[in-house]
């Protein structure tokens, strides 16, 4: 439960950080390659979850990019270990595959795609007029974005974060392949259900499922109420 809350929160924060600039870019600017980026962002949504996990596993573990270039270099996993290894507590190694970072990465890959879609729709609905006025009053692009656009899009940001959080909680396929379902180490709620079923403990699986259903319902109701309040304010 603790690991689930931790990984989902980190995933949601990272997803919002990715969704804000990409959503804004896709909504406000026309540039060459926009259709390609748009299509690439949909890939984690349309790919089968197990394929996402397998691709991540190959990318981080088996496929150092140097190999294609004919250079003998470390894999992403080894690079990660070299960079973060000295900062890890004693007795813990800084790996990715089959460890907690893999859980976050697997959740983030899919959840961020949903957050980007939500943020893009939010920016599409916000008129660019206010930021144009801010630009004429002396703000530069970054200031206009932070002081005008982000406050206007705040409800969209919270919706994107909530969606990413709930999507991360329900993620299972990529975690199974990329992080494994190791009891007490990379076990999140969704993988607990799988583990309980695999040992024939249906009661345990049902209880964990019920917990997930409850969390999902609470979050959905909260988001709906938030949305209704914002609509009322908009009408007034």
């Amino acid at each position: 439960m603790k690991l689930t809350l931790f990984t989902c929160t980190v995933t949601a924060l990272l997803s919002v950080m990715v969704a804000l600039p990409i959503g804004y870019l896709l909504s406000r600017y026309d540039f060459r390659g926009k259709a390609l980026i748009d299509a690439v962002l949909d890939i984690p949504i349309v790919l089968p979850p197990l394929v996402v996990g397998l691709s991540l596993l190959i990318l981080f573990n088996k496929m150092p990019p140097w190999e294609w270039l004919g250079i003998d270099g470390p894999s992403f996993e080894e690079m990660f270990g070299k960079i973060f290894g000295p900062f890890m507590p004693e007795g813990m190694d800084a790996g990715i595959t089959y460890k907690v970072p893999a859980v976050i990465l697997a959740q983030f890959t899919v959840a961020a795609a949903f957050a980007v879609r939500t943020m893009r729709n939010t920016f599409d609905q916000i008129s660019p007029r206010a930021e144009q006025v801010a630009l004429t009053l002396g703000c530069n692009r970054a200031q206009a974005f932070i002081r005008v656009v982000v406050p206007e899009a705040w409800r969209g940001v919270s919706t994107a974060g909530t969606l990413a959080w709930t999507r991360a909680m329900g993620e299972f396929g990529p975690i199974l392949v990329f992080a494994g379902t190791i009891r007490g180490r990379t076990e999140v709620l969704s993988s607990s259900v799988f583990l309980e079923i695999s040992i024939g403990n249906l009661e345990g699986a049902v209880i964990v499922s019920l917990m997930m259903v409850s969390i999902a319902v609470v979050v959905l109701i909260a988001v709906r109420m938030w949305g209704r309040e914002s609509r009322k304010k908009f009408v007034l």
């Binding site: 990715v18 690439v40 984690p44 990318l59």
Partner: protein, 43 residues
């Protein structure tokens, strides 16, 4: 923020490229066709 966004795009692109390159470099075309025909198309 922009850095993380760029890294996310690279992650998705890299994921796909890794899948394709790993398949190409580890499974020959003939083997690929044979596995596909024997295991999946006929079943």
């Amino acid at each position: 923020m922009i850095g993380i966004a760029v890294m996310y795009l690279l992650l998705i692109g890299g994921m796909l490229m890794a899948d394709v390159f790993y398949s190409v470099s580890n499974v020959g075309w003939e083997e690929f066709k044979a596995i596909l025909a024997d295991e999946y198309i006929q079943s």
